[in-house]
C-alpha cells in the first residue's frame, strides 16, 4: 500500500488518528485492548513515524502473531549524546531492583531484562537531557518495555514522557502535588464525608502519590492488569489518572471508615497506598471480537485486524449510568457555573457488547517473549454489560457482578476489597463526567499552569507541543504548577462538607509564602498574576476543546493556535520577568 500522499513531512497524518471514542469503549472491556496494544498504544501516543515503519515493518501486523524482534534491524534510537545524564546513577540503582512486581523465572533472564531496561532509560535521558528521572518512572517504562516490540519502545517511551508524564520530570515534585490537590477536590465533590475523614489524616492525599506519579505502574500487581490500566489512560487525557485514583479511593470507603473507628492514624495511608484487589471480569474467547476499527489505520493494518467492520459502537443518547441524581445533588449544594456532563465527548458513548457466553470463559497463563510470567487474555469478548455498572459515587465495595464467573485468585485475601477492573474504570469515567476538569470547584485553572500536560495534551497529534518544545517546558516549573494557594479551613467534622466548602470559598484566599523562592516573593506574585490571567484564557480554550468532538477540526485548530499563542506570550513574559529579577 502507499500512503505516502497522506503522510506529511513530519510523519504524522491525520489519517492515522485513532478514533478515541471507539478506543475508550474498548479500553473498558475486560482485558482492555488485549492483543492490539502493539498497534494501538503507538497510535495513541502519536508514534507514526515512517522511520519506525521502515525499520520494523510498522504498522505491524501483529494482532495474530507475537512480535518477534530477533531478525529486525537495530533500534532506531538516535545516536545518543555520549556524556551521561545526571540521573544515571539513580537509574542504575532502580533498574537493579526492577522486575520485582512481575516476576521473572530465571535470574539470568532478569539480568538481561534489567540491562535492556537500563539501556532504554539511559537512551531516553541522553536524548531528552532536560528531563529528570524520578523513582517510579522506571516502573512506567517497564510496562512499555514488556508490552511493545523493541523498535517501538523508545519512540513510545519518549512520547509518553514528553506529552503525558512530563509534569513529573522536572526538578521538583511540586507539579505532582498539584495533581494531588485536584484529586483531593474530586474526592470532596464525590464523597464529602469520606473526604472529610481523609482530610483529617493528611493535608493532601499523599497515599495516591505513586498512583499519579507512576500511572499506577508501581502499584498494580500484575502485568495484564497494569496493561489494561494503560489502555484506559492512553486513550484519555492525562488528567484521567486523577479520576481513576479517585475511583480507587472511593472503592475503599468502608475500609477507611473501619480504620477511622479504630483510630489508627497512619493505617489510612497504609491502606490507601496499596490498591484494592483488582480482577478482570471474565473474558470470552471469540475470534470475531477484535472490534478495533476506525483507528485511522492504513489499508494494511486494517487487513491485519480481523472483522474490523464489526465494531458496534453506538452513540447512546442516555448514558447507561444514571447521573441525574448526583447532578441534582450537586446543583442543590454547589453554587456557581454549571457544568454539563453531556459535553464530554467520551461519556455519552458506550460500546455495545457481545452477548455473554460462559462456556468459553478462560484466562491463559503463558510466558511471553521476555520470559515474564503473565496471566494474559486472548482476544475475547466482553462478558458483562457496562450498563450493569453501578452508578452511585458510593462505589460498590464488593463486586456487583455476582452472576458472573470471576476468575478467582486462590490467594485472594478475604478482607480486602475486591474490585473488577471494568467497574473501576467505568466508575472513573463516571467521576470524570460528573466532575469534569472544567468543573468550577476543581479549580484546575488555579492549580496547574498552562504548560502542564493537563493543558497541553491534545487528541490531535499536530496540536501537541513539538517534542523539543515539550522537553523545554520542564525548565519552567512555575508554568506547570502555579504557586500554592492555601486552602480555606477544611470542612468541619460533620458531614455537611459541601456547605462548609462553599462558605470556605467566599473567604479571602491568601498566598502562601513560596517555600523554595522565599526571597523572590514579588517576582512570584507578578508571575502568578500573569499566569492566572493568561491561564483563564487558556482554560477557556481548553474547556471548549474538551467539550467538542473531534469532528470540528477547523475551529479546534484555531482555538489551539490561540492557546499556543497564549502559552508563547506567557513563556516569553515569564522569561523577561526572570531576567528582570536577575535569576
Amino acid at each position: 500500500m502507499d500512503h505516502s500522499d497522506t503522510v506529511p513531512a513530519d510523519g504524522v497524518s491525520t489519517n492515522y488518528q485513532p478514533d478515541w471514542t471507539v478506543l475508550r469503549g474498548l479500553s473498558l472491556r475486560p482485558g482492555g485492548f488485549r492483543k492490539q496494544r502493539d498497534q494501538l498504544w503507538p497510535r495513541l501516543l502519536g508514534v507514526y513515524n515512517d522511520e519506525y515503519e521502515g525499520r520494523a515493518g510498522y504498522p505491524p501486523a501483529t494482532s495474530t502473531a507475537a512480535p518477534s524482534t530477533e531478525d529486525e534491524p537495530p533500534l532506531p534510537i538516535p545516536s545518543p549524546d555520549p556524556s551521561p545524564h545526571d540521573d544515571e546513577h539513580q537509574i542504575k540503582l532502580d533498574t537493579e531492583r526492577s522486575f520485582v512486581l512481575y516476576p521473572v523465572d530465571d535470574v539470568k533472564d532478569r539480568d538481561d531484562l534489567k540491562s535492556e531496561l537500563h539501556q532504554l532509560l539511559v537512551s531516553i535521558f541522553r536524548k531528552r537531557r532536560k528531563l529528570s528521572y524520578f523513582q517510579g518512572y522506571h516502573d512506567i517504562v517497564t510496562v512499555i518495555f514488556l508490552t511493545l516490540p523493541k523498535e517501538l519502545q523508545f519512540p513510545c517511551t519518549e512520547k509518553l514522557s514528553l506529552h503525558r508524564v512530563r509534569d513529573s520530570m522536572g526538578a521538583t515534585l511540586e507539579p505532582v502535588l498539584g495533581l494531588l490537590r485536584i484529586l483531593q477536590k474530586v474526592l470532596r465533590l464525590a464523597d464529602p464525608p469520606l473526604a472529610s475523614i481523609l482530610d483529617r489524616h493528611a493535608p493532601l492525599p499523599f497515599y495516591a502519590l505513586s498512583n499519579l506519579l507512576t500511572l499506577f505502574s508501581h502499584d498494580v500487581a500484575t502485568l495484564p492488569l497494569i496493561q489494561h490500566v494503560f489502555d484506559y489512560l492512553l486513550c484519555r487525557p492525562p488528567v484521567a489518572a486523577i479520576y481513576l485514583a479517585a475511583a480507587i479511593v472511593l472503592s475503599r470507603k468502608s475500609e477507611v471508615e473501619r480504620l477511622e473507628e479504630e483510630g489508627e492514624e497512619g493505617m489510612v495511608h497504609s491502606l490507601l497506598s496499596s490498591l484494592p484487589e483488582l480482577y478482570e471480569d471474565t473474558i470470552l474467547d471469540d475470534s470475531s471480537s477484535s472490534n478495533v476499527t476506525n483507528i485511522g489505520a492504513s489499508a494494511e493494518s486494517q487487513t491485519a485486524i480481523p472483522s474490523a467492520g464489526q465494531a458496534e459502537t453506538e452513540i447512546n443518547p442516555t448514558p447507561a449510568y444514571d447521573v441525574k441524581e448526583e447532578v441534582f445533588e450537586l446543583e442543590k449544594n454547589c453554587p456557581g457555573p454549571r457544568f454539563d456532563s453531556g459535553e464530554d465527548s467520551f461519556h455519552d458513548h458506550q460500546t455495545k457488547l457481545e452477548p455473554f457466553d460462559d462456556d468459553k470463559t478462560l484466562l491463559d497463563s503463558e510466558t511471553d517473549d521476555h520470559g515474564v510470567q503473565t496471566t494474559h487474555s486472548e482476544d475475547k469478548t466482553l462478558v458483562s454489560e457496562l450498563s450493569t455498572i453501578p452508578a452511585t459515587p458510593s462505589f460498590p465495595l464488593e463486586a456487583k457482578h455476582a452472576d458472573e464467573k470471576v476468575p478467582d485468585s486462590p490467594h485472594a485475601s478475604s478482607h480486602r476489597t475486591r474490585v473488577s477492573m471494568t467497574s473501576l474504570l467505568a466508575h472513573a469515567d463516571e467521576l470524570f463526567a460528573l466532575y469534569p476538569p472544567t468543573h468550577p470547584s476543581l479549580c484546575i485553572s488555579e492549580i496547574m499552569g498552562p504548560q502542564s500536560v493537563v493543558h497541553t495534551w491534545s487528541e490531535t497529534p499536530s496540536d501537541l507541543p513539538d517534542d523539543d518544545e515539550a522537553e523545554a517546558m520542564v525548565t519552567h516549573p512555575e508554568l506547570i504548577v502555579l504557586p500554592y494557594i492555601e486552602e480555606p479551613e477544611p470542612a468541619s467534622e460533620d458531614d455537611s462538607g459541601m456547605d462548609e466548602k462553599d462558605k470556605g470559598k467566599t473567604r479571602r484566599r491568601k498566598l502562601k509564602k513560596p517555600s523554595r523562592l522565599g526571597d523572590v516573593v514579588v517576582q512570584r506574585k507578578l508571575m502568578l498574576a500573569g499566569a492566572v490571567l493568561a491561564l483563564s484564557v487558556a482554560m477557556a480554550v481548553y474547556g471548549v476543546r474538551v467539550g467538542r468532538g473531534n469532528e470540528d477540526h477547523v475551529a479546534d485548530r484555531h482555538l489551539k493556535m490561540f492557546g499556543s499563542w497564549v502559552t508563547g506570550v506567557l513563556l516569553a513574559a515569564s522569561e523577561r520577568m526572570i531576567d528582570g529579577f536577575g535569576l
Binding site: A171, P203, H218, S274, T375, S515
Partner: protein
C-alpha cells in the same frame, strides 16, 4: 499493669541504602534480595516489648530516598519522636547524605527527637568504605545513637530498635494518645507494606 507507649519513627537516608529492607526485617522478619524502590512513603507499625514488660509501639514512616522526594520529608519527621538515619557501609557517599539529614533534623525537627545513625549492609563488610570508628566518632560528636545492621541477615536490627525503645520513654514524653491507648487488649498489629499488594503469585518466582 505494664506501661504502653506509642512513638512515631521516621526512616531517612540515601536511595538504596536499605531503609525499607531494614523495616521489613524489623516488622516482618523478612528480607527480599530485590526490593522495589519506595515512592513517597510507606507506613508500618511494630511493637517492641521490653524486659520490664513495657511495650513500645512504633509507628514507622519509611520514606523514599531519592533527592526529589526530599520536600516531602518534613511532613514525616515533623512530629516524629525518633529518626533512624540509614547509610550503606559500602558507600561512603551515603554517610555524607546521612550527615545532611541529621543536620536537617537538628534544625527542623522536634528538639527532643531521638536520632539513631544506622550503618546497614554489614553482610557486605568486604566492600566496606565506612569504618566503624569514623561513624561512631561522628555519632558521639553529635550525640546520636549509633549501630550497624544487616537487614539481610538480621544482625543488629532488633538491637537498634530495642535500644531506641528503651531510650524513648526516658527522653521524649510520650504523646498523649500513646500513653492512654496502647496495644492493650489487641494483638500487636503487624505492619502493612505499602508498596506491594500481597499477590502470592509473585512469590514463588523470586529465585
Amino acid at each position: 499493669m505494664s506501661k504502653q507507649y506509642q512513638f512515631k519513627l521516621v526512616l531517612l537516608g540515601e536511595s538504596a541504602v536499605g531503609k525499607s529492607s531494614l523495616v521489613l526485617r524489623f516488622v516482618k522478619d523478612q528480607f527480599d534480595d530485590y526490593r522495589e524502590s519506595t515512592i513517597g512513603a510507606a507506613f508500618l507499625t511494630q511493637t517492641v516489648t521490653l524486659e520490664d514488660q513495657t511495650s513500645v509501639k512504633f509507628e514507622i514512616w519509611d520514606t523514599a530516598g531519592q533527592e526529589r522526594y526530599k520536600s516531602l520529608a518534613p511532613m514525616y519527621y515533623r512530629n516524629a519522636n525518633c529518626a533512624v538515619v540509614v547509610y550503606d557501609i559500602t558507600q561512603s557517599a551515603s554517610l555524607e547524605k546521612a550527615r545532611t539529614w541529621i543536620r536537617e533534623l537538628q534544625r527542623q525537627a522536634d528538639p527532643n527527637i531521638v536520632i539513631a545513625l544506622c550503618g546497614n549492609k554489614t553482610d557486605l563488610a568486604a566492600r566496606r568504605q565506612v569504618t566503624q570508628e569514623e561513624a561512631k566518632k561522628y555519632a558521639e560528636e553529635e550525640g546520636l545513637m549509633w549501630g550497624e545492621t544487616s537487614a539481610k541477615t538480621g544482625e543488629g536490627v532488633n538491637d537498634i530498635f530495642t535500644a531506641i525503645a528503651k531510650k524513648l520513654p526516658l527522653i521524649a514524653p510520650p504523646s498523649a494518645r500513646g500513653a492512654t491507648r496502647g496495644a492493650a487488649g489487641a494483638p500487636a498489629r503487624t505492619g502493612v507494606d505499602l508498596n506491594k499488594q500481597p499477590v502470592a503469585q509473585n512469590e514463588p518466582c523470586n529465585c
